[in-house]
Point group: C2
């Protein structure tokens, strides 16, 4: 490997002079600068980022923790984050936790060892708290995405889950539905709690009773086996005429289960959900959804993270951004 010392020797200057040329700092005569640059090109010099990081005490490495890399909500978010990071000269490491706390713990270790400058963090759930405390303790700035974690204050970018749920329910009620089920994520996740809350509020607002058996809490992530959902569909009596799904994955898996029992959407039962499906994989988008601004989650979150990093720990108030979402009405709701 070529080092600045090799360059220095060949150009007949000191290593410091080479460093100055590379970083464009201090005063260098044009003659020297030109000569050093020529030698750098000749030898194909590439700066050693590790050595720089060690002395500068910053790696220019950021970390993005997501819970499901197969979910377009998160891949779109990832692009937003990466675009923003790239623009500021930072590189982005990805971690995919599969909503699994052990995996998340492993990534936390990696982050600390790597001395990442900051973390963009979609936590697996409330139990991610010790992981966040770990980061805090070691002075690693982070911004939470999509989910809050009770017990820790931080910057956070959220969607308006409660309002989203209200609007989805309203959409169904307006269509004449009065028995509306909710297939939701786990209660250990703040966004799932908010969605449940919004669902309950909307029911109340419309003088509809809350029926425990119409709510199932499952994982937001894909499952290998639909039996849990199937059992729920069998259990509900009388069955609902419409469903709200807590995210896109749940919506699709619910539709599969419905289809398996010969129920068509929207002819036999109505369905609305949070998040768009993969746009490119959809030949014919027909689900009525609350479309969250996935790209903005990543892009804005990254900007907030970079702000924190650049202000180097100067305490300023935590920022909580709630991104509004758009209701996109399509054909998955039948008017009763």
């Amino acid at each position: 490997m070529v080092t600045i010392y090799d360059i220095a020797a060949k150009a007949g200057v000191s290593a410091m002079t080479v460093s100055r040329v590379i970083n464009n700092t201090g005063r260098i005569s044009d003659k020297t600068r030109t000569k050093v640059k020529r030698v750098m090109d000749e030898l194909g010099y590439v700066p050693n980022q590790m050595a720089r990081s060690l002395v500068l005490q910053q790696t220019h490495l950021l970390f993005l923790m997501i819970t499901d890399i197969t979910n377009p909500f998160y891949t779109t978010l990832a692009r937003g984050a990466e675009d923003a990071a790239q623009k500021h000269g930072y590189r982005l490491l990805f971690g995919n936790t599969d909503e699994n706390l052990d995996k998340e713990k492993d990534y936390i270790d990696t982050i600390l060892k790597t001395r990442a400058d900051g973390v963009l963090f979609a936590p697996a759930g409330d139990a991610s708290l010790p992981h966040l405390e770990m980061l805090r303790k070691h002075g690693v700035p982070f911004v939470l995405l999509d989910r809050e974690v009770p017990g820790i204050d931080s910057d956070v970018v959220l969607g308006d889950s409660k309002e989203g749920a209200r609007r989805l329910v309203k959409q169904l009620v307006d269509g004449g539905h009065r028995r509306i089920a909710l297939l939701n994520g786990s209660r250990t996740i703040s966004s799932a709690r908010e969605r449940l809350e919004g669902y309950r509020e909307a029911l109340k607002l419309n003088d509809l009773p809350f029926d425990e058996q119409l709510v199932l809490e499952a994982s937001f992530g894909p499952r290998s086996d639909l039996s849990e959902i199937d059992a729920w569909l069998t259990r509900m009596d009388p069955p609902p005429t419409a469903f709200v799904a807590g995210n896109n994955v749940l919506a699709v898996e619910l539709m599969r289960s419905l289809r398996a029992r010969g129920l068509r959407v929207p002819e036999d039962t109505s369905l609305v959900c949070f998040d768009e499906l993969a746009s490119y994989a959809e030949i014919d988008p027909f689900l009525t959804v609350i479309a969250q601004q996935a790209y903005q989650f990543g892009h804005l979150g990254m900007q907030m993270l970079l702000d924190r990093i650049q202000s180097r720990g100067e305490a300023s108030a935590w920022r909580k951004v709630v991104l509004p979402a758009e209701l996109i009405v399509r054909r998955s709701v039948r008017q009763l």
Copy 2:
């Protein structure tokens, strides 16, 4: 930040002893080991990976370059790669090029600066050659995925594109189709060339003429605008009764175009393609596809890369692995 020197001072030993305890090297008395470990816990010590990397001359960082992070073929591949990397204690950086050579070039710079130990590389196309030469020149091991690049020898994991195309065409021919169009990726990509080749061979085998106007070369990546495909559909005369799409993205976008002209699949026109769509996003899989082993691409490729890295440049023959693919027959082909 806590360093081994802090630990050493507090435990009353030298830094070297601490290093030995951390890495489990050399001989340490149980008493000392216990004491050092206790102090490490107390102080919440986390090793500085940069400092280690600098002296050990390896980063334990690998890089995965993919061309489309929204494509489940690549995200699945990414999981395979990450699982294999994780298992061997390596971390994985992702780069998403969007089939764009400039982005690819930027990532190459990052890789060199970061001193990544190796690269798993799905190249944007033949023009990626200088990028690969750059890696080679700097001694960075790499394994190509999904696409070969003429002009450079390396380890590579490929799908059997030619055979896949033959089987897709055969499927259509067996269904009675004789005018079969191909919507393919760019000819600057080896897999697209192979698919074209397989298509031509299969036509020949079945005594069907090759008609230039039945082939369109477009990007494998998603496009904002379907006019190119639309124009092609308009242009073909007489129109084909069936289509082969070079990948999943092209298949979906083609179907959108067809639908826009009121053509249903399979009633009015038949369609087969390479690669599965996003499994979770499909309520009702109905496309007949050549399903490649995406996970294996990443997993196996990673293993080959780690082999190279562990053999530390001892020259051994380049390995070319061709993964067979499975034909999954569903309902998108109409029997004429």
